[in-house]
C-alpha cells in the first residue's frame, strides 16, 4: 500500500493538480488568444484572426529596443549574480565561518524586501554617493543599465544561493581534496572539479536570475536611465490603448521563448546531471 495517499486521495490530488494547471494557464491562454484577435477591444466575443499585432510590434523600434535592453540587463545581472553566488556558497558550504548564520541571513535577506522600497533606496543611495563623488572624482553612478544591474544582482543573489548551496552540499568534499592532493591549485580544482559538478545548478541559478531581472519593474523604474527595460516600457505605454494588442503579442512571444528555453536547459541539465552522477559514482566507488 502507498503510504502517501489512498486511491481516492490520489484521484482527488490528481484532479486538484489538473484544476490548478488550468487556473495557472487560463490567463496565459487569454493573452495568447487575444494577441491573434482582430479587434482593438480586448473583450469577448472574438472577432477574427489576425497577425497584424505581431507585424506592428516587429516594426516598433522603442519596443524592440526595450526588449534588447532587458536582455542585456538580465544577462549582465545574472552573470554577476551567479559569480557572486558561487563564491558565497562555496564559502558557506566549504569553510568554517564565524557568524555563519548571520552571514547566511544577510545573503538571504533581499528575498523579503519590498521592491518599491528597495528601488527608491537605491536611487537615493546613488544620489548621495554622487553628491560626494561627482565633485571630487568626477564619477557619477546615476542611473542606467549598470544601476539596474546593481539592484537586480542584490535581489537575485538569494535565489542563486538557494539553488547553489544544496547542490554543493551534496557533492563530496573528497573529490576536491583528491584534486588538491594530485597537485591542483585552488582555482584549478574549482575549474576542473567543483564547477563541472555544480554546473547544472549554476545553469538553474542563471535562469532564475535572468527571469527575475527580465520581468522586474519596481526597482528598474527608479534607477533606469535613458534605456527603458521591457517592463518599464510596458508600464509606461500601457495607458496608450492602441498599443495594448501589440503588448499581448510581445508577451506571447516572450512566453513561448522562455518556455522553450527553460525546457531545453532542464533537459540539458538532467542529461549532464545523469552523466556526471555516473562518473562521480565510478570515481567514489
Amino acid at each position: 500500500m502507498d503510504i502517501a495517499t489512498s486511491r481516492n486521495g490520489l484521484r482527488a490530488l490528481r484532479a486538484f493538480f489538473a484544476f490548478l494547471v488550468v487556473f495557472l494557464y487560463a490567463p496565459i491562454a487569454v493573452l495568447v488568444i487575444f494577441s491573434f484577435n482582430n479587434s482593438v477591444v480586448i473583450s469577448f466575443p472574438l472577432s477574427g484572426f489576425t497577425l497584424r499585432w505581431y507585424e506592428q510590434f516587429l516594426s516598433n523600434p522603442s519596443l524592440l529596443h526595450a526588449l534588447r535592453t532587458s536582455v542585456i540587463v538580465a544577462t549582465l545581472s545574472s552573470c554577476v549574480t551567479v559569480a557572486l553566488g558561487v563564491l558565497a556558497s562555496i564559502a558557506i558550504v566549504r569553510r568554517r565561518l564565524v557568524a555563519k548564520s548571520a552571514i547566511s541571513a544577510l545573503l538571504l535577506s533581499p528575498l523579503v524586501i519590498p521592491y518599491v522600497v528597495f528601488g527608491i533606496s537605491l536611487l537615493v543611495l546613488f544620489r548621495v554617493i554622487d553628491k560626494v563623488l561627482a565633485p571630487t572624482l568626477g564619477i557619477v553612478i546615476g542611473t542606467g543599465i549598470h544601476a539596474i544591474v546593481i539592484g537586480h544582482v542584490v535581489v537575485s543573489l538569494p535565489y542563486a544561493m538557494l539553488t547553489l548551496v544544496p547542490r554543493l552540499e551534496r557533492i563530496s568534499v573528497s573529490l576536491e581534496e583528491a584534486a588538491r592532493d594530485l597537485g591542483a591549485g585552488g582555482i584549478e580544482t574549482f575549474r576542473r572539479v567543483t564547477l563541472p559538478l555544480i554546473f547544472p545548478s549554476v545553469v538553474s541559478a542563471f535562469l532564475i536570475a535572468f527571469t527575475l531581472s527580465f520581468d522586474e519593474y519596481a526597482i528598474a523604474s527608479f534607477v533606469a536611465g535613458q534605456d527603458a527595460t521591457y517592463p518599464i516600457y510596458l508600464f509606461s505605454q500601457l495607458r496608450v490603448a492602441f498599443l495594448f494588442p501589440q503588448l499581448l503579442a510581445v508577451s506571447s512571444i516572450v512566453l513561448v521563448v522562455s518556455l522553450l528555453l527553460v525546457l531545453a536547459t532542464e533537459i540539458g541539465r538532467r542529461r549532464t546531471e545523469r552523466k556526471f552522477e555516473g562518473e562521480v559514482g565510478r570515481i567514489i566507488l
Binding site: 502507498d2 503510504i3 502517501a4 495517499t5 489512498s6 490530488l13 486538484f16 493538480f17 490548478l20 494547471v21 487556473f23 495557472l24 487560463a26 490567463p27 496565459i28 487569454v30 493573452l31 480586448i42 473583450s43 469577448f44 557572486l84 563564491l87 562555496i90 566549504r94 569553510r95 568554517r96 547566511s104 544577510l106 545573503l107 538571504l108 535577506s109 523579503v112 524586501i113 519590498p114 518599491v116 522600497v117 528597495f118 527608491i120 533606496s121 537615493v124 543611495l125 548621495v128 539592484g151 542584490v154 538557494l162 539553488t163 548551496v165 544544496p166 552540499e169 568534499v173 573528497s174 581534496e177 538553474s204 527571469t211 521591457y230 510596458l234 503588448l247 527553460v262 532542464e266 567514489i284
Partner: protein, 302 residues
C-alpha cells in the same frame, strides 16, 4: 564507505587548508555588494525618514513629527498597514493551502516525470507579471470570460453580470494567489521531497492511519517549508502595489500603493521613507521570529 572515510579525513585536514584570507576572498565580493547596495540604502532611507537628509527642493524638515503622527495613528497609514496585513495574510494562507497539495502530490505521489510536472507549475512565473495580472481583467470583467460563460449557459442576464469579480478585494486576493502559487509550491516541495519515506512507513507499521501519519509526521516535518513559503509570499504581498492598482478597484488600496504614491505622486519622500522603514522593521521582526525556518538547505531548490 570510501566516501565517508574521505569525508572524515577532510574534517581532520580542514583547518590547515582553509585559511581565513581565502574565505575572505570568497566572501568579500558578495558581502561588500550587499552591504553597499542593500544595507547602506536602507540606512539612508532611515536617515531620510528622520529628517537627517533632504534631496528634493520641496522637502520639509522634521521627520520625527511624521513618525509621531504615523505611529499614533493620526495619519491613515497605520490603519492602512493593518488592512494590508489582513489582505496579505488571507492571500498567503490561500496560497499555501493551494500550493501544499500540489507539492505533496508532486513530491510523494508522482514517480515518473516529477520534475517535468513541477516545471509545468513553475513555468507561468516566466510570463510578464503585469500582463498576467491584466489577463485577469479580461477574465473577471463584466463582459469577461466568466460572465460571458454564465450568460452563455443562461445563468445570468448580460445586464446583470457578477460585478464583484473584478475591482474588489476578492480580485486582489485571487490574483495574488495566482501569482504566488507556483513560486510557493517550491519550498514545500523541497521539504516534502527530502522527507525520508522510511519514517512514514515506520509510522504506518506502528499502526498509524494515513491521516495520522500525514498529520503527525509528514505535515510536521514539512512545516519549515510551509513557514518559509508563508513568509515568502506574505512579505512581498505586504509591499505589493501593482495588483491592487490594476484589479483592486476602490477597495484595493494597500500599504505598498501608499509608499509608491508618496514617492512618485505626492513627492513626499519624508512620509514615504517613514512608511518604508516601518515596513522594513516589521519584516526584520518577522525574520527574527521565523528566521530559523529560512535556512538555505530547507528551502533550496533540488
Amino acid at each position: 564507505m570510501a566516501e565517508l572515510a574521505a569525508g572524515e579525513l577532510t574534517q581532520v585536514l580542514a583547518p590547515r587548508r582553509r585559511t581565513w584570507p581565502g574565505t575572505l576572498g570568497l566572501l568579500s565580493g558578495p558581502l561588500l555588494w550587499l552591504v553597499v547596495f542593500f544595507l547602506l540604502p536602507i540606512v539612508i532611507v532611515g536617515a531620510y525618514s528622520v529628517g537627517a537628509l533632504s534631496l528634493l527642493p520641496s522637502d520639509v524638515p522634521g521627520g520625527l513629527e511624521i513618525w509621531r503622527r504615523f505611529l499614533s495613528g493620526q495619519s491613515i497609514y497605520l490603519g492602512l498597514f493593518w488592512k494590508s496585513v489582513r489582505m496579505a495574510l488571507t492571500a498567503s494562507v490561500i496560497v499555501v493551502l493551494l500550493a501544499y497539495p500540489i507539492a505533496y502530490f508532486l513530491a510523494l505521489c508522482v514517480k515518473k516525470r516529477k520534475y517535468v510536472l513541477l516545471l509545468l507549475v513553475i513555468a507561468p512565473f516566466l510570463t510578464s507579471y503585469l500582463l498576467r495580472v491584466l489577463a485577469w481583467k479580461v477574465i473577471l470583467g463584466d463582459r469577461g470570460v466568466i460572465n460571458s460563460l454564465l450568460y452563455f449557459v443562461h445563468l445570468r442576464q448580460p445586464d446583470h453580470p457578477i460585478s464583484w469579480l473584478l475591482y474588489s478585494q476578492f480580485a486582489v486576493i485571487l490574483v495574488l494567489s495566482y501569482v504566488w502559487v507556483p513560486f510557493v509550491a517550491l519550498p514545500i516541495f523541497v521539504s516534502l521531497d527530502n522527507l525520508d519515506r522510511s519514517i512514514l512507513e515506520a509510522a504506518n507499521d506502528l499502526g498509524a492511519s494515513r491521516w495520522k501519519v500525514f498529520w503527525r509526521v509528514t505535515f510536521r516535518l514539512s512545516l519549515p517549508g510551509v513557514i518559509a513559503a508563508f513568509v515568502f509570499v506574505f512579505i512581498p504581498t505586504l509591499g505589493e502595489f501593482v495588483t491592487p492598482l490594476l484589479v483592486g478597484g476602490t477597495s484595493g488600496f494597500m500599504y505598498g500603493n501608499a509608499i509608491s504614491d508618496l514617492f512618485t505622486q505626492g513627492l513626499d519622500w519624508r512620509t514615504g521613507s517613514v512608511l518604508a522603514i516601518f515596513l522594513l522593521g516589521v519584516v526584520a521582526l518577522l525574520l527574527a521570529l521565523f528566521g530559523r525556518f529560512l535556512q538555505v538547505r530547507r528551502i533550496g531548490a533540488a
